[in-house]
Amino acid sequence: MNLFTRKSRHGDREDAMEREIDFHIDELTEAYIAQGMSREEARRRARFEFGGSEQVKQTMREVHISAWIEAVLFNLRAALRFLRKSPSFSIVVIFTLALGIGANSAVFSAIDAVVLRPLPYPGGDQLVTLSQYDTRGRDANTLVAPIRLEDWNRMNATFTAISGYYLDDISETSGPLAEKVTEALVAPRFFDVMGVWPALGRAFRPDEMHYGGPRAVIISHRYWLSRFHGDPNAVGSKIRIEDRDYPVVGIMPASFQFPSVDADLWEPSPMDGPFEVNRNLTWFNVIGRMKPGVTLHQAGADLATVQAKLGKQFPHPDAELGINSESLKQVTVGKTPSSLWLLYSAVSLLLLIACSNIAALLLARTADREHEVSVRYSLGASRRSIVLQLLTEVFVLALLGSLAGLAVAAVSVPGFKLLSATLPRADEISLNWSIAFYTLLAAVVTTLLCGLLPALRGTRKGLAHSLALTSRTQVSTRNPVQWFLVGVQVTLAVTLLLGAGLLLRSMQQLGLVDAGFDTGHVLTFQVSGSWAETTDMKSVVQRIDRTLDALRTIPGVEAASTSAMLPGVSSKYQMEFKIDGNLDAGNRILADERLVSDGYFEAMRIPQLAGGPCERTSSTGDVVVNRSFASRYFNGNLPVGHSLQDAAGSPYIGARIIRGIVGDAREDGLDKQPVPTVYFCFSAPNPFPNYLVRTRDDPMAMAQTIRQKLHEIEPGRSVYALMPLQQHLDEASSENRLRTWLLTLFAATAVTLACVGLYGTLSYLARLRQREVGVRLALGALRGQIAAGFLSHGMRVASAGCVAGIMLGLALSRFLKGMLYGVTALDPLTYAGVVSLVLSVAALASLVPALRAARLDPNRVLREE
């Protein structure tokens, strides 16, 4: 019954009231005319006598409204009576719905937090990240020079303001032990762009944003609690960073965690220092706030004209640069939404299965309640009112189920946060009114899905005569609707299983890949350092080499090295090279670039194929290439001894001699094929590189020893992010694992529900056909034949469900694109496995009721007649 027909019903009623009143007035008028009045006089008299017809109509309307309320209350009371009368049925339904609706609400709460809700900044949808790119594709650097950032901010027409930031790890040294602190260095206008200001204290003053101006920091709420124990007098006190004091001028609100949840401090990064005017020195991540009403597309076009102007003014390098703009929300949530939508579809299918299961249960019940329904008909109830009563029963069940479901969701929300460390915005997932409203909506939809069909079928006209019949003598029906519902359950379960199966197969394939490096027994950590040290690179290199030497003296350490990026964790950084100074435009030399120290290939156990490894002694700065690079760009010739140069001609990277070739390794992620890679031998890619230490035994057992050793040689520095390399790799694939296991869990639940549906329907059918079976047995039918008959009925429906499920699975398989590894969406092994699994559990579920039906004692049944 949709809104439209309800409205027209209402219109009908108004119209009928009008006609009824008109009739009365007309009759009265006629009566007065008969008494000798003139028509006009009679009409006036009749109207007067009738009184205010509008008032009468209003009273009549009230009759209908109060009748409606009465009907609702009556139905609710009847529903509660019904639930009390059949507690086990009610509990089964409520439990099923609690799981179905609960899982649905839990996944929806994640979608709500990650995808639907705006970022937790005022007008967060207007925030855009900006980056530069090399239009010739030779340089993968996307960071922006400060002077260019200022140009963009000054010359654009579509942004309220543009600012930028970069992160630095520093040591706070006022305590007995140096403590690592994460600092965000911010360009002017940073807080204007974010739209958030300190909750206590103030933002930076203009003089603090200039080179050589007064020092100032703003601290995070978290740091305020941990370092100052929430003391409001923290504003105005000082913290000590390395050897300088910084006054705290403000404290940010707890909700502000940009650019990172780890950010402890914000410090001004002046734009007018000596390095800041160089257009080639780039280090800012840029973020801008678009003016209200401006779209991303308009902003992009505006920035393109700005950059074109800069290109004319500074042909090198600005003419070769383009600007990328992406919404901050898009950048923040990344690719996660597709995983979440996948899970959401899965839980929705699960809820559908639960609904058809309950619908089948209700159908069986309404058959039992024919008597009750026919009594109500004979008492003058309309079909509509009986349908409403039956739906009210289901609604009460659905409401109770969804309340329990909210509890299920409340339990699973913290689980979500635990399960996936990489889920963006996970800390924003919470139960709120929109989730409660969603759950209520789910209850209404569930009511209609579960209840409408049984209610309509249970109240068909013509059933009234069944009052005269007793159910025992009733001829068995074929119950096509119930079998259709079972078929739907099997279909959806097969679809879910196919998805889960494909993901599981992908995980299995991923487990089989040869990474090309050995992740076991490798400990990773970082030692605090600051970008400020890079003014004297020589001493940074010396410090890091000294640290490596110290590590290698520890007994139980087999190898130690540094690396700019962790192996196996995605971090694409591609460069274009010239070989021996020659640039061949038709055959571009593209390769991933990685910066590693001596000892790296030993620590990672990447085999040396030719030449030598990275060595510290070389003064020129050598490189090592992998096998893919050698075979793709040297056509079988030995590359050792040739030189590589940056094709972009950056003056900071001179010609490098290729010292050796190593084996291919999946450095950019286990799920990605190795690509041509150039390893630059350089131990200090930044002041706080990743250390990789190969240990003889359990790497974590060495953690304390390593900490102590480092404290001896670097007492002013902190060691952090200490964990086995394997853990990094696990975290990198945690989203994949989460969605695979959740989908598998949902699919298993789906199969269970479908089997319960099959079992229940077959049992019900067998009970309905007891008499027929009894007669057949008495006439000499074999028990085996009876059992086979029921079994084949169940299996026919299951097979039809499998076929439909495979077709649905084929149609939906494109949703898995990008989530599969090593299998196609049409993997025959998965399809065969799912079909045989479903058919065998379906056979088991059918066998029990089939055998029970065949064990019937014909004497007993026939005696009962």
């Binding site: 009365h24 009738f50 008492l379």
Partner: protein, 112 residues
Amino acid sequence: MTPLEKTDLLQGTLDLLILKVVALGPVHGYGISQRIRQISKDVLQVQQGSLYPALHRLEKRGWLFADWGESDNGREAKFYRLSAKGRKQLAQEEHTWERLSNAVALILQTVE
């Protein structure tokens, strides 16, 4: 005799009168008000403002059925019939009314 005022009708009495009149055969709203007047010899005059809401209420309760049909002079009118439930209700209310009026009569007949 002057007709009784509407307020003089006991609460619930109107329902009884309507059920009784409808029990005589299908009839429309105007017919009901005329019959009550005629049978009571003009003592009882039902206000239309009470009659129609009462009819709809009785219909909602399932005591009356309503259908559209043709009146004596060939016009379309809404006819009310008594349902099985309504017949039961009428019997019960008649019984209640009898007991009530007997009780009132007994009190009024008491000699001072």
